[in-house]
């Protein structure tokens, strides 16, 4: 029910033109207001606190849809922030909230959150400062854009005296949740890229027939579909636990698997679109640019695979089969 309602809002308001506008400085206030006023930021907030009380599994298709529409706003992050702030006396502030899985203090005492997702437009940030969970007001920060074309990431620097509000010691959950959100967004954006590429290959004619009729092209699309299927089911795993926050190991696998697929999926899509695929005008770039960014955001597959490897090595006598079976101890049936 929520999924359909949100899907409709995204189809109506999160158009490719709107995505481009946000990348050029628009703040998409109509789209944001629609989602905020509709109560959709409270999807993970418990019912006793007037939220929708959804499970992680129930928000997964919604986070997937955000990726499929290249949603240029930190909506998933704002939803997650409310779950991360579950035990706080502070009500989450109104406005766009994003997540910074990494932060540190510079030598001069400034607090830095490097390349925070949606850092260019977030009003507030939930920050993991060495395990401490901090809520910071982004209007007090200096924002430095990454300089990557169209990117909405920014590095934020808060002055020495900006302490933020300390909310607890569950700071590491910020990175987990942010990584899980990225995994879902990658899977969604890949589904869209696959659909676009399939459609194009059925339409584009060369040598008197649709290029999708050439076996070499078909096989590339088949492999692309395999990568999309493997990514999606891996992302789903991060949202399969009954807990409030995605499981650590499942998230590591989800972020690693989806990130691993990005180079091949984006390369295949662009190869098959030919020159038109790299133009600003074609919507494909809205997805492939994001896929590249999301792959490295909160750590690439190398980071997360390293954690998965460590987890296996830490368990003597446990074989690969047994290990993968117990990633989520009690998956909902």
């Amino acid at each position: 029910m929520f999924t359909e309602a949100i899907e409709k809002i995204l189809t109506d308001l999160c158009t490719p033109a709107q995505v481009r506008a946000v990348e050029n400085g628009d703040c998409a206030s109509a789209l944001w207001r629609e989602l905020e006023d509709g109560g959709f930021l409270e999807l993970l907030t418990p019912e006793v606190a007037d939220g929708a009380g959804l499970s992680l599994a129930a928000v997964f298709p919604i986070f997937l849809a955000f990726g499929r529409h290249a949603l240029p706003l930190p909506v998933a992050q704002s939803i997650a922030a409310r779950a991360l702030m579950r035990d706080c006396p502070h009500a989450p502030p109104t406005g766009m909230l994003s997540l910074a899985g990494t932060a540190y203090r510079e030598a001069d005492g400034r607090l830095c959150a490097p390349r925070m997702a949606y850092g260019a437009l977030a009003d507030f940030a939930l920050v993991n400062l060495g395990g401490e969970l901090l809520l910071l007001d982004c209007s007090q920060a200096q924002r430095v854009r990454s300089g990557v074309h169209g990117s909405q990431c920014a590095t934020l620097y808060w002055p020495q005296d900006a302490e933020g509000i300390s909310l607890g010691s569950n700071g590491s959950e910020v990175r987990l949740f942010s990584a899980a959100i990225h995994a879902a967004a990658i899977a969604g954006a890949m589904e869209k890229a696959l659909d676009m590429t399939l459609e194009y290959c059925n339409d584009r004619v060369q040598f008197g027939k649709a290029i999708g009729k050439f076996q070499a092209v078909q096989h590339q699309l088949s492999v692309m579909a395999e990568q999309v299927a493997a990514s999606r089911i891996a992302a789903e795993l991060a949202f399969a636990s009954n807990a409030t926050v995605p499981d650590a190991l499942a998230t590591a696998i989800a972020k690693a698997r989806t990130s691993m697929a990005v180079p091949q999926v984006t390369a295949t899509a662009h190869a098959l679109f030919g020159a038109i695929g790299v133009t600003e005008e074609l919507d494909l770039q809205l997805f492939t640019r994001r896929l590249q960014e999301w792959r490295v955001s909160e750590g690439s597959e190398t980071h997360w695979n390293g954690l998965v490897g460590q987890a296996l090595l830490a368990q003597p006598q446990v074989g690969a089969s047994e290990f993968v079976r117990n990633v989520i101890p009690s998956q909902p049936a």
Binding site: E191, L194, D195, L198, C201, N202, G212, K213, Q215, V217, Q218, H219, L221, S222, V223, A225, E226, Q227, V228, A229, A230, S231, R232, I233, A234, E236, L237, A240, A252, I253, A256, R257, M260, E301, T302, W304, N305, G306, L307, V308, G309, Q310, A311, L312, L313, P316, G319, A320, S321, E322, F323, V324, R325, V327, Q331, P332, A333
Partner: protein, 385 residues
């Protein structure tokens, strides 16, 4: 969204299947032959009739066949668990593998009552091992072009022709063969039928073929005017193609399509635990686990469809293609890793296991349909053909 991918949704194993796992583990602890990892890496090409009969004594050969025939009457989920445990232990399952996975279910579905009464109890008892006669010297991927031919005669059929690459033909009691019963090779899929052939009868010669690793797991089988009774035909005359395809989802979606290198993976992980692992080795190991988790969930999603009686043939082709690519990548990457430093000592068992798997890894994406054929099927499923 392309509907082909809709089948792949996270699915949990039901409790009864997980409960069954403990029994299988218990059995393996007592009965798994104590052999080195490079032998265990043969897994579903490792032949050990005594081991298969031990499984049969527990009802675990023909696991999904009805109890009336001596089967365990368990579902596809339980079979997933059994197969997963057997393969990850490197158990020698080749003797009964084909009968359990394919021949038994095929006879149950298409066989006459007499055929079911005769073959199924023998399969379940581990007394009837089967092989599949599809490929011929001139018919590989283009299976519909088979030339072996059975012609009607008084009281049955006369069969002439040749089959090749037939796994275990030289150990098996019976072959289920796909042969032409009418028309010519140009008639393609029509005019093909399936027969159950007792391999001990006269006119059949079987020549094992040695592979590049020194093993003889497949054979060439020649039929020289072999007399088959009326009761050798399984299913309907002319329906061979349809019947062969009915089992493809079972054949291609299971754990055997991504567990072929798991014995090596575990051995390598043990070595890293003992000797310490670099960051690169840890991440490589993690990447295998990451991929395996995803593959297992893809396969489980199809198991749920099989349990419901559906036949996700194209989806199974997808799992097999990405799964075999994964099991091929493991020995290739581990070989590079363990020999990265020529001055470092290498464990001999690990070295042999890697070497064996790199020799045979090409077969992973040949047996059961080649990569190119599977990708063509997926493309059709995506609406491109």
């Amino acid at each position: 969204m392309s509907s082909l991918l809709d089948a792949f949704r996270l699915t949990a194993l039901p409790e009864h299947a997980e409960a069954f796992r403990a029994e299988v583990k218990h059995f393996l602890a007592a009965h798994l032959p104590r052999v080195s990892a490079d032998v265990r890496a043969r897994s579903w090409t490792g032949f050990d009739a005594a081991f298969s009969r031990e499984l049969a004594r527990r009802g675990w050969v023909g696991l999904t066949l009805p109890q009336a025939y001596g089967g365990a009457g368990l579902d596809a989920f339980s079979r997933f668990v059994l197969v997963e445990e057997l393969l990850s232990a490197g158990a020698p399952v080749a003797a009964h593998w084909i009968a359990d996975r394919q021949s038994g279910p095929l006879i149950l579905k298409f066989g006459s009552d007499a055929q079911k009464d005769f073959y199924l109890p023998r399969i379940c008892a581990g007394q009837a091992f089967f092989c599949i006669g599809m490929s011929e010297p001139n018919s590989g991927s283009d299976l519909a072009s088979v030339r072996s031919r059975a012609t009607r005669c008084e009281g049955g059929w006369r069969l002439s022709g040749r089959k090749i690459w037939t796994t275990n033909a030289h150990h098996a009691d019976y072959m289920i063969a796909l042969v032409r019963t009418s028309g010519a090779p140009e008639d393609r899929q029509s005019g093909l039928s399936q027969f159950i052939i007792d391999l001990k009868q006269p006119g059949i010669s079987i020549r094992p073929i040695v592979d590049l690793a020194g093993d003889a797991h497949f054979s060439e089988v020649a039929f020289d005017d072999v007399l088959l009774g009326e009761d050798a035909l399984v299913g309907e005359e002319g329906s061979g193609w349809k019947q062969v395809n009915a089992e493809l989802a079972f054949e291609r979606s299971g754990p055997e399509r991504f567990y072929s290198s798991v014995v090596l993976l575990d051995l390598w992980a043990d070595t890293l635990r003992r000797n310490g692992a670099s960051a690169a080795e840890t991440a490589l190991l993690g990447s295998f686990i990451t991929q395996l988790t995803s593959l297992r969930n893809l396969s489980l999603a199809l198991t749920a469809l099989l349990a419901k009686g559906e036949s996700p043939v194209v989806e199974a082709a997808l799992v097999k293609d990405i799964g075999t690519e994964f099991e091929q990548a493991i020995p290739a990457a581990i070989a590079a890793s363990i020999s990265a430093d020529p001055d470092a000592p290498v464990d001999e068992e690990l070295y042999r296991t890697v070497a064996y798997l790199n020799q045979v890894a090409p077969t992973f994406s040949l047996r059961g349909g080649t990569r190119e054929i599977l990708r063509g099927m997926i493309a059709r499923g995506l609406g491109l053909r």
